[in-house]
């Protein structure tokens, strides 16, 4: 017989006392002077007290649960390091997914920490202000635990040591970096829509759930543990995302067109950025859990479908070009991996061609596209490799002015034709990979015409010099060690030595 559950001050009451109960209206200074940033975007809020965190988490409970999460996480990390966990992963190729994660994602966690700290000071309503403060601490925790965990791999594998430096300079890392710079230089409500709603609520499952499940499947105990520890905060971030959207839409009908435009923009930007994850799932995990297309179906088509059906009562519609993004789920991972294969000399992780077995898996998962459009290309490159003529693309690619990805994507409905759009602004012509990216530019040309595009910067002489060696040095990439194919890399040499030692022990 279980004893009856104890009665305490009830959760709703406690939340009220610990948030609204601690807030006050300023009298020496005008509220508009104390909170100067939350009106200029045109979002109208008539009653901030209508905001409630559905988890009703208060700061005291927050510290308690976060402390427990940290204790559990560090016990595992310590044990992973003590027991040489790096020996237990499925294959050393797997580590390249972690390199991409540390250089591409971890610095975003830190950016998120900084910007949520800003919102935790500058949002007038106490409910979202407290939620932003908690999220700011979460994001700092994520950055720290990721760096701490992955530092163990840095002892044995290349490509990790210069991650913050690389994040600020390397061509493909400008994709996630510019995404976040765009959000952080927007107003507070756009940032909430971008990061809390479009990214955390609508798209983050596509990053973290398959990534962490993939880590679990590939024997990476450390990444699974920090990943799930971070993800436990993510559910709270997701509720912040959906609450902020509903709150804006409920507060005033004038907010709808502004919010819709942001939802359209940030869905498209997020979709393009997550192409890196698509490639990781379909090509970089030695043991795969699900294809990008399957993940898209579960997390966008099904979960996003239910979400937007629910939000339609406020007049909000499914993001513009969602249908095109869904079509692209058949192509994006193959096209991205092909870009990295061609530019392996400038990548901070190793590349390879899929094996026969891996291509069979891709055919099965992509019956409409892989054999028809992508297998022939990989097979041709394989033949070239066999003849000692491994293909390198030595021309610098044109980049999309908005998403900053090389213009390698194809037209909707025609995967044999490269997509290409352009527009003029203030006497200059700007180029885009898609209608979605072009629309975003045309809505904010003053902002996007200033984009720091890695290829333009190289040509302008701002990246260390005129040839590849100079640029790699400026990236802090060790030529012949951090870049190029997995086959022949120091990573491979070491892994093979570990494996043969294991066979000797097994006799």
């Amino acid at each position: 017989m279980t004893p009856p559950r104890k009665k305490k001050l009830n959760l709703k009451k406690r939340y009220e006392l610990m948030t609204r109960g601690l807030d006050w209206e300023t009298s020496y200074q005008k509220m508009d002077d104390v909170f100067p940033y939350d009106t200029f975007e045109g979002i109208k809020i008539t009653d901030w007290s209508k905001w409630e965190d559905p988890f009703r988490l208060t700061m005291d409970a927050y510290w308690k649960y976060q402390g427990e999460k940290e204790r559990k996480l560090y016990a595992v990390l310590d044990s992973f390091a003590q027991n040489n966990g790096q020996l237990g992963i499925s294959d050393a190729r797997y580590v390249n997914a972690i390199k991409l994660f540390l250089t591409g994602v971890t610095p975003l966690e830190y950016q998120a920490h900084r910007h949520f700290a800003h919102l935790g000071r500058h949002i007038r309503g106490v409910g979202p202000r407290v939620a932003a403060q908690m999220q700011s601490l979460d994001e700092l925790r994520h950055a720290q635990t990721q760096i701490h965990t992955i530092s163990h791999y840095n002892k044995y594998f290349d490509g990790f040591s210069e991650f913050p430096h690389m994040h600020d300079r390397v061509w493909y890392l400008s994709v996630p970096k510019s995404f976040f710079d765009d959000a952080c230089s927007a107003g507070p409500f756009e940032f909430f829509t971008a990061i809390s709603f479009a990214f955390e609520y609508v798209l983050t499952n596509l990053l973290f759930v398959p990534f962490m499940s993939g880590a679990a499947y590939n024997g990476d105990l450390a990444t699974v543990t920090f990943g799930f520890s971070a993800q436990s905060d993510e559910a709270r971030h997701m509720t912040l995302g959906i609450e902020v959207i509903k709150f804006m839409l409920e507060q005033h009908p004038d907010n709808l067109p502004i919010v819709q435009k942001w939802v359209d923009k940030w869905f498209w930007r997020g979709h393009k950025m997550l192409g890196l994850v698509a490639m990781m799932m379909d090509y970089m995990l030695p043991k795969r859990i699900m294809s990008w297309k399957e993940a898209w179906e579960i997390y966008f088509t099904e979960a996003g479908g239910a979400l937007f059906e629910d939000l339609s009562r406020y007049g909000l519609r499914v993001p513009k070009y969602a249908d095109i993004a869904t079509d692209e789920a058949e192509h994006i991972s193959h096209q991205n991996w092909a870009i990295f294969y061609q530019y392996t000399q400038a990548a901070g992780f190793h590349t390879w061609l899929p094996s026969d077995e891996e291509m069979a898996w891709l055919s099965e998962k992509y019956p409409n596209t892989f054999d028809k459009y992508y297998r022939p290309r990989f097979e041709m490159w394989r033949e070239m490799e066999a003849k000692g003529e491994r293909f390198y693309n030595n021309a610098l690619p044109q980049l999309c002015q908005t998403c900053q990805i090389p213009m390698g994507y194809t037209e909707p409905g025609d995967p044999t034709k490269i997509g290409f759009r352009s527009t003029e602004y203030a006497g200059e012509r700007y180029h885009f990979c898609s209608d979605g990216c072009k629309d975003i530019f045309e809505n904010e040309p003053e902002k996007f015409s200033q984009a720091w595009l890695p290829v333009h910067q190289i040509f302008q002489g701002n990246c260390g010099g005129a040839d590849l060696g100079d640029v790699l040095k400026w990236y802090h990439m060790d030529n012949g060690i951090d870049n190029m194919d997995y086959t022949g890399s120091p990573d491979q040499k070491q892994w093979d030595a570990w494996q043969s030692a294991r066979k000797r022990v097994a006799g």
Binding site: P3, R56, E68, V209, Y217, F228, A306
Partner: protein, 90 residues
């Protein structure tokens, strides 16, 4: 089509009684197992009852303990001392 709500929990010792309670208290719920985690989908509404979890673990379970094992969710959430509810249209 009724909107699906979902909750994803870690597949570990701490989450197992929570998963069991959810499957018991929501007869239409379906569990999808993946490495390291379980995604539970349910049409329209899903409830996690503190009483059910408490019975299974033999001590008082606070719904806020869900923060230790939750991975992701879909739906609008409402939490109080007795239960945590995911639904659409709330």
């Amino acid at each position: 089509m009724a909107g699906i709500v979902s909750i994803t929990l870690q597949n570990n010792d701490e989450a197992r009684p929570v998963i069991e309670s959810i499957l018991h208290d929501n007869p239409s719920a379906r569990a999808n197992y993946m490495p390291g985690a379980v995604k539970i989908d349910c049409p329209e509404r899903l409830v996690v009852k503190a009483e059910s979890v408490s019975e299974r673990i033999g001590r008082d379970w606070d719904p806020q303990e869900i923060h230790l094992t939750i991975v992701s969710m879909g739906g609008s959430l409402d939490e109080d001392d007795e239960e945590l509810v995911l639904s659409w249209g709330a």
